[in-house]
């Protein structure tokens, strides 16, 4: 450890003098972009799937949709994220002859993947809301989906907010695999700095710190949001 100072110097040389920080910022931007878009797409897909799965199933259409949705959830929960990325990038895109950058593919795959997880989170959230709430909505003449959107889902979201935050945090951390499809995230930026300074200890340490800081910031934001949504709650 005696030469730790030297290592820091070499890191700083590449980080500042050789514009390493530009790559880091780009990487950070990509990481956040992938995680946030992934989460948003995931919330939309997850809510839709969760709604389909709680609809009463005595008609054909809901039953068919339900089958499709459970297949989708099974597919995306049953394979690792890396495998999904690789399959999309190296199998599906060439077959469909579509051109997409690594970042775009990552955003899509992260969205589809987190959609599968969020659907289960959302379903437990919806089921945690007293069935009487839906009944009361239906009894005043609102349709199933209006009662769902105006009454049940807002309450469900409030219940699942901590779990949803968890999902976001794990998305942020999982972005470290997007280099498999050539997207430049934080990991790519820091390994670039490492290989240019022939020294990996400090870059990876800094990378770890940045991840931790991001996650702490997100936890803080979630706590603030929770406090705002709790205003209709008895427990303050």
């Amino acid at each position: 450890m005696g030469d730790f100072g030297v290592k820091v110097d070499r890191f700083l040389e590449v980080f500042i003098d050789k514009n390493g920080y530009v790559r880091v910022l780009d990487g950070l931007q990509n990481t956040l972009l992938i995680a946030i878009t992934g989460l948003l797409i995931g919330i939309v897909i997850g809510t839709l799937i969760a709604t389909v799965r709680v609809v009463p199933k005595y008609k054909t259409l809901p039953r068919v949709l339900n089958g499709i949705c459970s297949f989708y959830v099974g597919l995306f929960r049953g394979t690792p994220m890396v495998v999904q990325l690789l399959v999309f990038y190296y199998v599906l895109l060439p077959i469909l002859e579509v051109n997409m950058t690594g970042v775009q593919v990552s955003m899509m795959v992260f969205g589809l993947n987190s959609g599968a997880y969020i659907s289960e989170i959302m379903r437990s959230g919806i089921q945690s809301v007293d069935p009487g709430q839906l009944e009361a909505g239906r009894a005043v003449g609102l349709s199933f989906h209006t009662s769902m959107i105006k009454i049940v889902i807002p309450q469900a979201v409030k219940n699942i907010l901590p779990t949803l935050g968890n999902e976001f945090i794990s998305l942020i951390k999982e972005t470290s695999v997007v280099s498999f499809v050539g997207a430049a995230d934080l990991y790519v930026a820091f390994s670039y700095i490492g290989s240019n300074s022939y020294e990996f200890m400090v870059p990876y340490l800094v990378m770890a710190v940045i991840y931790i800081l991001m996650v702490m910031l997100i936890s803080l934001l979630i706590r603030l949001m929770e406090r705002r949504l709790k205003k209709s709650d008895r427990r303050n």
Partner: protein
């Protein structure tokens, strides 16, 4: 106003209602009593198709609403319902609870009219003079609908003396207050009939009175009501007909005096001897 014809309902092969026939006229106050598990709540919930009847029909204002092809939401707007556990919308304030359905349905109606006019305008562009059709007049705006609903809701809250709670959330109210808000929430839609599903069963004894008083006031105003309850004194005072449901059928139907003093059905006699 409501004609129930041979109404049957089964849950997973167990027949709960075995053919109910009853007619409810405008202004009727019908109290439904019976032992637990007799199907009285199921009967009530079949009236607005909260539970879809297995067979039979419920003719409401001339339409068979048990028919799955009917848009039930439209008919439910004329049929209020009050639940045992209040079921106020927890994520809305008291005022929003009352305003939600009226504002939503009227806004929807307005949007439908606007879309229709838009189509008419487009159609008018392509047909010669003389064949053009008039646009339907639109007299209201979204803001106006909202204001009216708010006025209405505040008036209803004033009536139950809870104007100061307009911006409170349901979790801060007492059981009796919640139930009174739930009653005016269904009143806000100007229903033709209100269904009460054991409205006082989940209340502390000292709060039962305030809810029953409000229901008595509604009865005096001529509201048609169908009430499932265990409050025999209330039934005797307010009802103009009492139904005794047991084993999925109506065993006795009579005005309160006759019902309580000269019960004919042996099962009813036994029931009354236990509860009175």
């Amino acid at each position: 106003m409501i004609d129930v014809i041979d109404l049957k309902k089964s849950f997973h092969g167990v027949e709960v209602l075995k053919g109910i026939n009853v007619t409810i006229d405008k202004g009727d106050i019908v109290v439904v009593i019976g032992p637990s598990g007799s199907g009285k709540s199921t009967f009530l919930r079949c009236l607005n198709c909260m539970e879809d009847p297995t067979s039979g029909s419920v003719i409401f204002n001339g339409v068979d609403i048990a028919d799955m092809r009917v848009d039930i939401n439209i008919h439910r707007r004329h049929m209020g319902m009050v639940f045992q556990h209040f079921n106020l919308f927890n994520n809305k304030t008291v005022l929003e609870n009352i305003m939600l359905a009226p504002v939503y349905t009227r806004t929807q109606e307005l949007n439908r009219q606007r879309r229709k006019n838009m189509r008419q305008k487009l159609y008018n562009l392509f047909v010669p003079e003389g064949k053009k059709k008039e646009l339907a007049p639109i007299e209201t705006t979204k803001a106006q609908i909202k204001d009216e609903a708010r006025e209405d809701a505040l008036r209803l809250l004033r009536r139950i003396g809870m104007e100061d709670k307009a911006d409170a959330y349901p979790s801060t109210l007492s059981g009796g207050q919640k139930q009174r808000v739930a009653i005016v929430r269904s009143l806000a839609m100007n229903p033709d009939v209100i269904l009460f599903d054991e409205p006082t069963s989940a209340l502390d004894p000292e709060m039962v009175g305030e809810v029953l008083d409000l229901m008595k006031a509604l009865a005096r105003d001529g509201m048609t009501m169908i009430i499932v309850t265990h409050e025999m004194g209330f039934a005797r005072e307010v009802a103009n007909r009492i139904l005794f449901i047991d084993e999925g059928v109506i065993k006795e139907s009579a005005p309160p005096e006759e019902f309580f003093t000269h019960p004919k059905n042996p099962r009813l006699k036994e029931f009354l001897s236990k509860v009175l």
